[in-house]
């Protein structure tokens, strides 16, 4: 199944994950493994870019909840950026804006990491 593609880049000390396609119960484990790998390597400043993500299911949303506590305990954070309106609606309905920084662009996220 190649309807989900995950890319990763390091910019100014933060790890940026690029999601593309469909994030659902089948593809969520890929994202979980990627974030898990970062946490294991002590990378706690994570930006997830939703620029090319078309769909997210409840299983996809759950991935962010798996690590957020541990990351915040380490003074890190996961910041979510570049969501399409439809994807944002899903996050919004669930109340994620009250739990995560949901921002427009990578730059916003990076500057937030720097001021923190």
């Amino acid at each position: 199944m190649s309807n989900f593609i995950l890319d990763q880049r390091t910019v100014e000390g933060a790890e940026i994950l690029y999601l593309k396609g469909f994030l659902d119960a089948h593809t969520a484990p890929q994202l979980e493994a990627a974030i898990g790998g970062l946490v294991q390597n002590g990378k706690y400043s994570i930006v997830v870019n939703f620029r090319d993500l078309d769909y997210i299911s409840s299983a996809g949303l759950g991935v962010f909840m798996v690590f957020i506590e541990d990351i915040r305990d380490q003074q890190g954070d996961i910041k979510l950026v570049g969501m399409k309106p439809k994807v944002f609606t899903v996050f919004d309905l669930l109340g994620f804006p009250m739990l995560f920084d949901i921002l427009d662009s990578e730059e916003d996220a990076l500057s937030k990491f720097q001021t923190a």
Partner: protein, 710 residues
């Protein structure tokens, strides 16, 4: 045998016949002894009365014997031969030995002691020889043909009649007729016996040797006995005194049975050289038929392979065999052996040189001598005592390698090339049987799983609310349909602490069994929390408090709750991350989404603070719809989403007097129509609340209209 010893008529007649035999023999002896003592009559010239007594004795003794001896029609020719040969040998030997105890001067003149010795001897000899004739008869009948049947039907009675005549009217002319007729009948018998011995070909080598030995013994004994009957005056005198002329009958029977056995011994001798090949062919044939039964049977893999190994090792004496099967899917590799000790099995199993040869094989390979194979020198040294020649057969199905069959022997150059064909065929059948076994196993596991799913579904159905009451003026309709057997959607109708009715709709993240288990937990928590809560927001906060921490980190539950206040015609709405409420009123449709976070995502500090409650007035004809994302995110075959807009539209089209059931049906029908043939990929749940009474309003309105018109 039709009767058993438990049948009383049989039992009685046998006893009577036995008594008759003993009484007639004693009477015969008494009559002849009296004749000797009183009239000085020679027993060699019997009276009519003594002959009748002798015949009565013969008849009743024959009946007793036949009743007591058991003949099993299921016996194979070989078993009959063995038992007949043994019997004939013992009888002949017994008669030869006991004839030495007869005094030589039995005949002239008769002494009382010799007389008393001679009569039981003659009686025993006659009965045993008739019995022997009966055995010859069964041997002849081993292969029943129309010829042998005819002999039995016509020749035997004629023979018996002539023998009887010869006995009753002794004289040289009748004696000649008797001898000629008996000899003629026996010739018929002999011809039948000699022509029908093909069954001995199929005997195993061991059986042939055994049968040959017994047949030789029986015929040698027979010739010795014949010599004694012809040559010993005492024996002849004893037999003639008992029944005149019977010495010829005895001699002929002895000749006949001796010839039958001699002929058998000769035939057996001829087939002995080919016995090895026949043996192998027979065992090959047997093994193939056993393999057929293995294929059709259903049993576990251990038994199955055990039976295959038994067949394989049964073909060659002292051979050993083992089978290795590769792991099937998520299973484990399988190996079993027969004829090896555990350390030897360990040794061959972990022999990498052997697996290196076996792995690429597509055809059976015969290694006549391990020492001659360049790759197996090591194995040859280590396995010297128990393995010298080896056949390796790949077990394949549709060119998919399942494993390997190894057949070995402690001696080199043991197997014939032809055996490769057999083992190859066995390996083929084994592959099918293994495949069957695995498929059956999988089927069984799946059936068990499906049964459990079915039960889980039934239990989940019982979690849905039944017999709930809603306040007057309100109507509720609910619908849920899991994507799989069980799902993570939930709806309920509960009563709060303030006695108001509260509707709940929920969706556990994920699908299937794990989600279903959480809905069961949720149901319990909801029931407990409802009786403590005075508002939908309080209810949701309590539910979050109870479930946060008990859910896995990535699992959350979205919940929507609606409290109905029938006094003030309002509903109070609270939402924990769930889809918005869709309300249709006179002014149109709108989504109502009070703020709130999904249950299980955060602790109560954040959750409670974030949770909003909204109050909405519902007047008659207004409708509030609660739904899970299986409805609005349903995707059809063109990958188009159902969407909130279409939901809004379809609800907007329903009439204000429509019942909750009707509106629910309209949505469900529309969603089904939209989905077309696309599989449902998420659980769908729908809850429709309708403020009733609109119809009455319009009736009143119409009445007023009518009244105005008048």
């Amino acid at each position: 045998m039709k009767y058993t010893s438990n049948d009383s008529p049989f039992f009685l007649s046998t006893i009577l016949a036995g008594i008759g035999a003993i009484v007639s023999l004693v009477l015969l002896i008494v009559v002849d002894v009296l004749g000797l003592l009183v009239n000085q009559r020679d027993p060699g010239q019997p009276t009519f009365f003594s002959i009748v007594l002798a015949l009565v004795f013969l008849g009743s003794a024959g009946i007793t014997w036949r009743a007591l001896s058991k003949s099993d029609p299921g016996l194979s020719p070989y078993e009959r031969l063995i038992s007949a040969g043994r019997f004939v040998s013992i009888v002949s030997f017994g008669l030869v030995v006991s004839s030495f105890f007869l005094p030589d001067d039995l005949g002239h003149p008769w002494g009382v002691m010799g007389f008393i010795l001679a009569y039981p001897f003659a009686a025993a000899a006659v009965i045993l020889l008739i019995r022997q004739l009966y055995w010859v008869d069964t041997l002849v009948l081993l292969r029943r043909t129309s010829y042998t049947s005819r002999v039995r039907k016509y020749v035997l009675p004629v023979m018996a009649l002539l023998v009887l005549l010869g006995i009753l009217w002794p004289g040289s002319s009748t004696l000649q007729i008797t001898v000629v007729s008996v000899a003629g009948g026996l010739l018929f018998f002999l011809f039948g016996a000699i022509s029908g011995v093909s069954w001995i070909i199929a005997l195993t080598r061991k059986q042939k040797w055994r049968a040959f030995g017994l047949a030789c013994l029986a015929s040698i004994n027979g010739w010795v006995l014949f010599g004694i009957v012809i040559g010993s005056n005492a024996v002849q005198a004893a037999l003639r005194a008992f029944i005149p002329g019977v010495d010829y009958v005895v001699a002929l029977v002895v000749i006949c049975s001796t010839m039958v056995f001699g002929r058998l011994a000769f035939s057996l001798l001829l087939t002995l050289p080919s016995a090895g090949i026949i043996d192998r062919q027979v065992s090959e044939k047997n093994s193939l038929s056993i393999m057929g039964s293995i294929l059709t049977g259903v049993e576990d893999l251990d038994n199955l392979i055990g039976r295959v190994l038994a067949v394989v090792t049964g073909v060659h004496n002292r051979s050993v065999a083992w089978i290795e099967l590769a792991a099937d899917g998520d299973g484990v590799p399988f190996a079993a052996h027969r004829g090896l000790t555990e350390p030897h099995f360990e040794l061959v199993q972990h022999q990498s040189s052997l697996s290196a040869i076996a792995a690429p094989l597509r055809q059976p390979l015969y290694i006549e001598h391990l020492a001659e194979h360049p790759g197996l020198k090591d194995l040859y040294m280590q396995a010297h005592g128990f393995l010298q020649s080896l056949i390796i057969v790949p077990i394949e199905l549709d060119s998919r390698r399942l494993g390997t069959l190894y057949v070995g022997h402690p001696q080199a150059f043991t197997f014939e090339r032809e055996s490769l064909m057999l083992f190859s065929s066995i390996a083929g059948t084994t592959s099918l049987a293994v495949q069957n076994n695995r498929l059956f196993d999988r089927l069984l596991r799946r059936e068990r799983y499906e049964r459990e799913l079915f039960l889980a579904r039934e239990i989940q159905q019982k979690l849905l609310p039944r017999n709930y009451t809603v306040p007057d003026g309100f109507e509720v309709a609910g619908y849920t349909s899991p994507a799989f057997e069980v799902g993570g959607d939930y709806y309920d109708v509960v009563t709060l602490k303030n006695n108001r009715c509260c509707l709940l709709i929920g969706d556990v993240s994920g699908k299937g069994m794990s989600a279903a288990m959480y809905t069961a937990e949720l149901k319990g928590v909801v029931l407990a929390a409802a009786s403590e809560s005075n508002s939908p927001s309080e209810l949701l906060c309590r539910i979050n408090r109870a479930m946060y921490g008990s859910l896995d980190r990535q699992i959350f539950i979205t919940l929507g709750a609606m409290e109905i206040d029938s006094e003030s015609n309002t509903v109070r709405l609270a939402r924990a991350g769930h889809n918005p409420f869709l309300i249709r009123s006179r002014s149109g449709t709108m989504f109502v989404a009070p703020k709130g976070i999904g249950v299980g995502l955060v602790g109560s500090a954040v959750f409670d603070k974030a949770l909003e409650m909204r109050e909405v007035e519902l007047v008659p004809g207004d409708v509030c719809v609660m739904y899970t994302d299986g409805i609005n995110e349903a995707i059809n075959e063109e990958q188009v989403e159902y969407g909130n807009e279409r939901l809004e539209q379809i609800i907007g089209q329903t009439r204000q007097e429509s019942s909750a059931d009707f509106i629910l049906g309209a949505i469900v029908r529309d969603a089904a129509e939209f989905g077309g043939g696309a599989p449902q990929h998420d659980d769908m749940t729908l809850l429709v609340v309708n403020r009733t009474g609109y119809g009455k309003l319009s009736e009143q309105y119409q009445e007023r209209e009518v009244a105005n018109a008048l």
